[in-house]
Symmetry: D3
Subunit: 69 residues, 6 copies
């Protein structure tokens, strides 16, 4: 499946913290940058996410803000 989201960043799962309905999943991108995601526990299960697994952080362009110093 290909998706309209313009930002698809390759990385590896380095941490998963589960709550009652949501989980915080941290990816480390190539180069060492970390990206934090909140998804449902249902998605963690259905994607079979676990530490060390390769995965992508996917972000719709309209969800990205820009900041300057």
């Amino acid at each position: 499946m290909r998706i309209s989201a313009r930002n698809i960043l390759k990385g590896k799962v380095v941490k998963i913290v589960r709550g009652a309905v949501n989980a915080e999943v941290t990816l480390e991108l190539q180069g060492g940058t970390q990206v934090v995601s909140i998804i449902t526990n249902g998605s963690v299960d259905s994607l079979g996410l676990k530490e060390g697994k390769e995965a992508y952080a996917v972000v719709k362009a309209s969800s990205v803000m820009i900041a300057v110093d």
Copy 2:
């Protein structure tokens, strides 16, 4: 100002395409990955964005999805 958004990725503006109300701003992160953002023209102006300027892509963790191959 410090913000709750967990993802703040440093880069450089490489492209700005303006529409009537929104603009598409592309950042190139360190390492070469490109991130595409849709923000208002008002923000492009107030931040003084232009090609070559250093900037950050800012994304709330709840806006990040995870995908696997």
Copy 3:
């Protein structure tokens, strides 16, 4: 690619209206319900979207609100 977004609704593209940076894409789901999406023109092009093409509306669970009468 499989994605964490919990809502993936199958349909067919019935209308595309392009602006300078964004496009409004309307899908008709099985059963006749229409779903309206705003994505970038770049995505319309890269996915090869056109009227009549089968496609999916994809929505992260945290973007769905609930209303009652």
Copy 4:
């Protein structure tokens, strides 16, 4: 109240899972499609949501992505 969100899909609540601050609410649309939503517990309470109740899934057009096979 009428709202600008372009997607208002009628259904029935089939499942509610509560966490400490958020709840996962599943609606079944006419035709059988299920839609999953994450909203606050405060909203579950103030809307009086419970299994079997008629409700709508509401999604802003800019939160809808498109995917193709």
Copy 5:
């Protein structure tokens, strides 16, 4: 219709700028604070929005970030 979005701020439309698919709508809240919204032209039309009209800015709690100085 009552909606799960936790933030419903009463104001008055003070400015509408239309693009090809999206419009930028500015509300002035009681007290003088301005809130800027991007919605589709289709919504501006269906809600009959125009300058001077009373309206509400509606924001899902998961779309609100917090910042400190």
Copy 6:
């Protein structure tokens, strides 16, 4: 840091409820309006949020919907 988000509303933290991964943070704006936000516990900690502290509610324009009676 200055950010592209068009809506930056000044207030004071009046309530924080923590879950396992997310927290619900309520701000009271000048004039008495309350704004509810869902952010990660990690952000509550890194910003040092606590009741009584001055803070801003930050919302991207594309996350704001409009409603009318």
